[in-house]
């Protein structure tokens, strides 16, 4: 039994520029999947290739064992919610949502019923005769969503769906998206450059860089066990210390830090990955440094400590324990928590 959606050895170049490089990926049914990465990593190209809006140079895409690439874009059971929403400005909200059903040539009653139902789901039934220009950003986004899911696609693609919304509406829409995905029972593939968004919303994440998938994992796995330095750097706040492994410790800028067992050979260059919340302050520690600055984030405070490395060390601290700026802090952590990655 093969996966619901399987992408095999997909490649796409724009002239000299590589957009997707021999990419393979499997996505399960009803999964909320996120394609995450910096701009230009190929995630949007991959999304557009799935929708058929972009041709590919090589590789295969199979949806339930059916060759997706041989289907023209307008016949694929895949709908896309555009980043700009792409609502048709000359049609009403209702006509926008009904547009796709009308193209299927469904009976009028069914179109009316399904359109009204989905508009009710996104609470826009009262606005159905409005023009898109009369809607707020959040409402436009919900119309775009309704327009895509009313077609009951096998896969719903979302291109940076929340990037145009302000922060408060954003978190509401995140919940909304999750609820809808649950209710509709549709596989969602979301493209985003925002790691927090991907972490909070997706079942699994594929982190992409330069046309390749670097790691596929659940948000928790990806946070806890980043496979490469790129992943560690991209996902969440992190301290990345570049140094060399010795027989029993890790040498960074002339300082020796303790490490747990590692498969990496002694003498090799490596990166020590330390999450700010893994570090504790105490009367003594593995390293010490002066507190340079503290940034208050409400629930927690992020301290920046100069330990003589090429970067300031970030440490999470609860509010009532924040030392005065200029104090010398002693940093320690459980060596088993820290991850060592090869730096090649």
């Amino acid at each position: 039994m093969s996966a619901f959606l399987s992408i095999e050895n997909l490649s796409k170049n724009y002239g000299q520029q590589i957009a997707i490089k021999n990419l393979s990926l499997e996505i399960a049914e009803n999964e909320f999947f996120a394609l995450l990465g910096p701009s230009g990593c190929g995630k949007t190209t991959l999304l557009r290739a799935l929708a058929g809006l972009e041709s590919v140079d090589a590789g295969e895409i199979r949806l339930q064992n059916q060759d997706l690439l041989s289907l023209p874009a307008n016949k694929r059971p895949v709908n896309l919610m555009f980043q700009s929403y792409a609502l048709f400005p000359h049609l009403t909200v209702y006509e926008n949502v009904a547009y796709g059903l009308r193209r299927e040539g469904l009976p009028k009653d069914e179109i009316a019923e399904r359109t009204s139902k989905v508009l009710r789901t996104v609470s826009l039934l009262d606005q159905k005769n409005r023009s898109p220009s009369q809607l707020s950003g959040g409402q436009k986004q919900r119309v775009a969503l309704a327009r895509a899911i009313v077609k009951r696609p096998k896969i719903l693609l979302l291109d940076e769906p929340l990037s145009a919304l302000d922060k408060k509406v954003r978190s509401e829409m995140q919940l909304e998206l999750k609820r809808l995905q649950h209710e509709a029972g549709i596989t969602f593939i979301l493209v985003t450059h925002d790691q927090e968004e991907a972490m909070s919303i997706a079942d699994r994440i594929a982190l992409m860089d330069q046309g390749e998938v670097i790691q596929v994992a659940t948000p928790v796995e990806m946070y806890r066990a980043p496979k490469t330095k790129f992943v560690a750097d991209f996902i969440g706040e992190n301290n990345l210390l570049t140094g060399q492994i010795t027989t029993s410790s890790f040498m960074v800028a002339g300082k020796s830090l303790p490490i747990a067992n590692t498969q990496l050979p002694s003498g090799s260059n490596a990166v020590l990955v330390l999450r700010p919340e893994q570090i504790t302050l105490g009367v003594s520690g593995f390293v010490a440094g002066k507190l340079i600055s503290s940034n208050f984030y409400g629930g927690s405070t992020l301290l920046f400590i100069d330990c003589g490395f090429d970067q300031l060390i970030k440490v999470t601290c609860v509010l009532d324990q924040v030392p005065v700026v200029g104090t010398t802090c002693h940093l320690s952590w459980n060596p088993a928590d820290a991850t060592l990655l090869s730096d090649g």
């Binding site: 929708a51 058929g52 809006l53 874009a73 307008n74 016949k75 895949v78 709908n79 896309l80 555009f82 980043q83 700009s84 792409a86 048709f88 400005p89 000359h90 547009y99 796709g100 193209r103 299927e104 023009s131 898109p132 220009s133 009369q134 327009r147 895509a148 077609k151």
Partner: protein, 297 residues
């Protein structure tokens, strides 16, 4: 005391702002008022006056100029003008839309080159461009020679001095004015619109008809106004290519002012042309708002 000082300071600031605003705005707006708005007022005023014996007007109020405009002779000329201008507009659309659409498909640096090539003739001498058609279409002209040489015809054909030649000349003169607004309407359409239509199951031709075409409609209408209005008011093309046999509103207005010396009647004709322009622009704005849901365009 201190407050009073602040107040005079603030007044002085406001005065300075007013002065600088006046320096920038007044010369231009005054110029337009004196040399366009006031003269238009004159013309409107003239429509109610009686013609003078040697041109000019006599200040005797009358509505006769308006009733005269409804004379079947002038209504006939107006209808013919409208038909000719409409034919030129329709042809300009049929040629201009695919041309503009083709330009949008080019790489962006080539788009500028082709747009320049399209507008370049428009910025050159109108008389000369019209005259060039005489060179081409005359009975002994290039086209006839070519047709005779290829054996398609034995006798030279008379292309000129027919309504068709006037339509051709107007089309030639104003085609760029159709292409430009359509082009700018087309390039402003988010490419995601068409992709969204296709993604929702529309075939490419459905997406074109249902999405691209309606969204380009405001541009098409601007182009249509830009071709239609100057065509109606043109008197050079009918004179040079129509041989004076086709009289259009433009010729009529010219003759009332420079030959017949009936300024009040000429004013009625000119004002009707201006009113037609205003109505067309009003309609365009309505369509623009309906299509794009916004006022500007």
């Amino acid at each position: 005391m201190a407050q009073a000082l602040v107040k005079t300071e603030r007044d002085a600031n406001q005065r300075r702002a007013l002065i600088s605003r006046s320096i920038f705005l007044i010369p231009g707006l005054a110029y337009i008022t004196i040399f366009m708005l006031v003269p238009l007022g004159f013309i409107f005023f003239y429509t109610f006056l009686t013609r003078g014996t040697y041109g000019g007007v006599e200040y005797i109020f009358t509505l006769e100029n308006y009733t005269r405009a409804l004379d079947s002779l002038y209504v006939g000329i107006l209808m013919e003008s409208i038909m000719i201008a409409a034919a030129a507009t329709l042809l300009a659309f049929l040629i201009g839309f695919p041309t503009a659409y083709a330009i949008t498909k080019l790489p962006s640096n080539w788009q500028n080159v082709f747009l320049l090539l399209i507008v370049l003739p428009f910025w050159t001498n109108f008389l000369i461009r019209t005259y060039a058609w005489i060179v081409l279409l005359n009975t002994q002209g290039f086209l006839n020679k070519g047709l005779i040489n290829t054996g398609l015809i034995n006798q030279p054909l008379e292309f000129l001095y027919k309504p068709g030649a006037v339509i051709l000349g107007l089309l030639y003169a104003f085609l760029p004015l159709m292409i430009l607004p359509i082009y700018s309407a087309l390039v402003r359409i988010d490419p995601a619109m068409k992709e969204a239509a296709i993604n929702l199951g529309a075939s490419p031709s459905q997406a074109f008809r249902q999405i691209t075409l309606p969204l380009a409609l405001p541009g098409v209408l601007v182009g249509a106004i830009f071709v239609f209005v100057p065509s109606i008011g043109n008197f050079i093309v009918p004179e040079l290519l129509g041989g004076g046999k086709t009289v259009m509103v433009g010729n009529l207005i010219r003759d009332q002012f420079l030959k017949a010396r009936d300024w009040p009647f000429g004013s009625v004709l000119a004002i009707s042309m201006v009113v037609m322009l205003l109505i067309l622009f009003f309609l365009q704005a309505r369509v623009n708002k309906a299509v794009l849901g916004e006022k500007s365009g």
